[in-house]
């Protein structure tokens, strides 16, 4: 979904098989996804990306503004690029999942035409996990300092797990 800026239809390998050109800057398109602490998120892209475009893959856990993970898309000319997003740290709430938004953020003036975007999960053993901070109200929390509200109370429905609550 287009969150910011403008896009237009553009030819790819075939003049009638269209992709999306990101016009001007900034341009942001997003795709909702879910995360857990067991699997990595795989993001693949086929496109024509110039380095000057400063195209960045961003992950916004809870889709609430702060970017928990980002990676710059290198220059590519219609080759498939694959990126792996590590799991989130949810050891305080086993088997929980959280919502997130994957975004492609064009920050520069270079040309970007996107043909194919794929999002999926893959099993992985990650050495680093994404630490959750600024957790919104109603979401599980390990401690009060992780909550946006500064309050983490025991969950009434899941024993042994905290949940952020309004101050």
């Amino acid at each position: 979904m287009l969150e910011q800026g403008r896009i237009e239809r553009a030819p790819t390998w075939h003049e009638k098989d269209y992709g999306a050109r990101m016009l001007d800057a900034p341009v942001v398109i997003s795709h909702p996804t879910t995360l857990n602490d067991q699997t990595c998120t795989r993001f693949s892209l086929v496109g024509d990306v110039e380095a000057e475009a400063q195209l960045v893959l961003e992950l916004d856990v809870y889709d609430n503004g702060p970017i928990e993970f980002e990676e710059t898309i290198p220059e590519t000319r219609w080759e498939k690029q694959t990126f792996v997003v590590p799991p989130v740290d949810l050891n305080f709430a086993a088997q929980a999942i959280v919502s997130a938004s994957l975004r492609l953020h064009k920050r520069g003036a270079g040309n970007v035409v996107l043909a194919r975007l794929e999002v999926g999960t893959i099993p992985c053993v990650a050495t680093t996990l994404i630490t959750l901070r600024d957790i919104p109200d109603g979401e599980f929390c390990p401690s009060a300092d992780r909550c946006r509200s500064g309050r983490c109370e025991p969950s009434p429905s899941v024993p042994g797990v905290g949940v952020c609550v309004a101050p």
């Binding site: 390998w13 075939h14 003049e15 098989d17 086929v46 219609w78 080759e79 498939k80 043909a115 194919r116």
Partner: protein, 554 residues
């Protein structure tokens, strides 16, 4: 002096006695004939058209003009080897009986059919020449005359082939020092013998029979000897076959007559009826029996001598050709009479209606085939995969290869025995792809090539070839995609070229042709995408199909 005078008188008596033989109707006091004809070939041999008919004609002429008793002529059509040998064994007792009574007995053995180097091919069976020789020499005949018109399958004119003459006669001579023996063969050991569709006979047997009808009577004594008919058949067969694609055919004769003298084979002077060509007549005459159209004689005559052909009474048509002019004549030959061919009573006809001499020559060939291709997986195809397309599955495909959809159809013009040119239309590439979003993409590639083909005949029925070709090519792509707001249908044409080098084998067991199989590698940079990738529609390809021969009579 008296003994000398008596001896001279005796010699004169013998001379006049032998001269009187010119009028006798029996070539030998007792004469047997075994006449064999077999059209079928063995493995890889093309069925002959006229071998059995030739045998029938030979048997009939031996009775008609050779003075043979019909009861002593054994005609074997399409026999197996056992029957041939049994027939010879059956004659052994009779020859022994004649020998015990001090009677001379002659055997005439004729064979027309397929042969290989050391055996006659009687359909699926073979009769080794050594075995046949042994059986023939075992017969206590005073004189044995063997005529072999043996064949192997070959090109369009059903080339016959055998090297049996030298082998047969050489070995025979060693064992036949005590009796007369002659072997006449239709070609040398390194040549092929041929049939003619125009004559409806093998060239050799046709001219052998025409010679016996009187055309071979060189000394005009009313009878045709073994030597005379050989010389006639040799010259006429060679002249007739020199212009065929298979090449000139030299008849051979080897004799060991041991005092038999000049052996008469036919007595045309004693025939029931004659067709005569006057001394001032010149030209080529094709004499056909009516209404069947069977060719009874084809002769070429020069001015200066009279030619008398012994024929059965009946109706005949004669086609005469002299230079560019031609005539058609109807002849009614009555019993105990002769008819002189008179051009004044013939009708001039268009040149083309006078059938010219010669066997069919392979000129045009046609081919149609199908194939399996493996175009290289180049950047064009890889990008299709990158953009989410996968090859569609077909009945014989894998994920990686496209459907085998090669097709070829073309014609070849033979320039020489070993060289030809060809043109052909081909589908050289085809592939279909699908994507998860229901988009479909496909391409076809076509070429129209001209090429040069070199041939090498490995066997009569097997030819190897190598060729190169090049021509313009067309690639057509089709994309269809159903989006949320619109449906896209796009077809594009790309032009380029196609070139291929290939080699193959032709299996040609039949007159009409057979099969071919070839493999080669092609290059056809043809279909291009928006990214600058050009797909090569060439690569490795295998083609199999039909090769159809078209022969032309000259």
């Amino acid at each position: 002096m008296r003994p000398v005078l008596l001896a001279l008188l005796a010699m004169l008596a013998i001379f006049f006695a032998s001269s009187g033989a010119a009028a006798q109707t029996r070539p030998h006091p007792i004469a047997y004939a075994v006449v064999v004809g077999s059209n079928p070939g063995g493995a890889g041999q093309q069925q002959l058209e006229y071998a059995e008919k030739d045998a029938e004609r030979v048997a009939k002429l031996l009775v008609e003009l050779g003075g043979y008793d019909a009861q002593r002529v054994r005609l074997l059509l399409r026999p197996d080897a056992g029957r041939v040998l049994a027939t010879l064994d059956g004659l052994k007792r009779q020859f022994e009986a004649h020998a015990s009574r001090g009677e001379d007995a002659l055997l005439f053995f004729y064979y027309s059919g397929h042969a290989r180097a050391d055996a006659l091919n009687l359909g699926a069976q073979t009769l080794r020449l050594g075995t046949l020789r042994q059986r023939l020499t075992a017969l206590p005949a005073t004189l044995t005359i063997t005529v072999l018109d043996a064949c192997q399958s070959g090109a369009f004119s059903r080339a016959k082939g055998a090297s049996r003459a030298a082998d047969f006669s050489y070995n025979s001579m060693q064992a036949l020092r005590t009796r007369g023996f002659a072997v006449m063969a239709s070609s040398t050991e390194k040549e092929l013998s041929q049939e003619s569709d125009e004559l409806k006979s093998s060239y050799f047997t046709h001219h052998f029979l025409v010679g016996l009808r009187g055309a071979g009577d060189h000394n005009r004594d009313g009878r045709v000897s073994l030597d005379e008919v050989y010389r006639y058949a040799y010259a006429r067969t060679l002249a007739a076959t020199a212009r065929t694609a298979v090449g000139g055919q030299h008849a051979t004769l080897e004799t060991e007559l041991m005092g038999q003298g000049d052996v008469p084979l036919s007595y045309p002077a004693a025939a029931d009826a004659h067709v005569e060509l006057a001394p001032d007549f010149d030209g080529r005459v094709l004499l056909q029996i009516q209404p069947s159209g069977s060719v009874i004689a084809e002769v070429t005559k020069a001015k200066g001598t009279q030619l008398t052909l012994a024929v059965p009474s009946g109706s005949y048509s004669a086609t005469v050709k002299r230079g560019e002019k031609a005539w058609s004549c109807e002849l009614d030959v009555k019993s105990r009479a002769g008819v002189t061919l008179d051009l004044g009573r013939c009708t001039a006809v268009a040149d083309g209606s006078a059938s010219a001499k010669g066997a069919g020559r392979e000129v045009w060939n046609f081919e149609v085939g199908f194939g399996f291709g493996a175009p290289p997986e180049d950047a064009y195809v890889k990008h299709l995969h990158t953009f989410g397309f996968s090859e569609s599955y077909g009945p014989l495909i894998t994920q990686r290869w496209c459907e085998p959809a090669l097709f070829t159809s073309g014609a070849e013009r033979r320039l020489t025995r070993g060289l030809g040119v060809f043109a052909r239309f081909q589908i050289i590439d085809h592939c279909e792809f699908r994507r998860l979003d229901s988009a479909e993409f496909s391409y076809y590639a076509y070429s129209l090539d001209a090429g040069v083909r070199g041939r090498l005949e490995l066997l009569d029925w097997l030819t190897g070839y190598a060729q190169v070709e090049i021509g313009p090519a067309l690639g057509v792509t089709h994309l269809s995609a159903a989006g949320t707001t619109e449906t896209i249908e796009s077809e594009e044409a790309n032009f380029g070229f196609h070139t291929r080098a290939s080699a193959g084998l032709m299996f040609l067991p039949w007159k009409l042709g057979g099969f071919f199989a070839e493999a080669g590698y092609a290059y056809a940079p043809l279909i291009e995408n928006e990214l600058g990738d050009v797909h090569d529609s060439g690569g490795f390809a295998v083609l199999i199909g039909f090769h159809i021969r078209n022969t032309r009579t000259e």
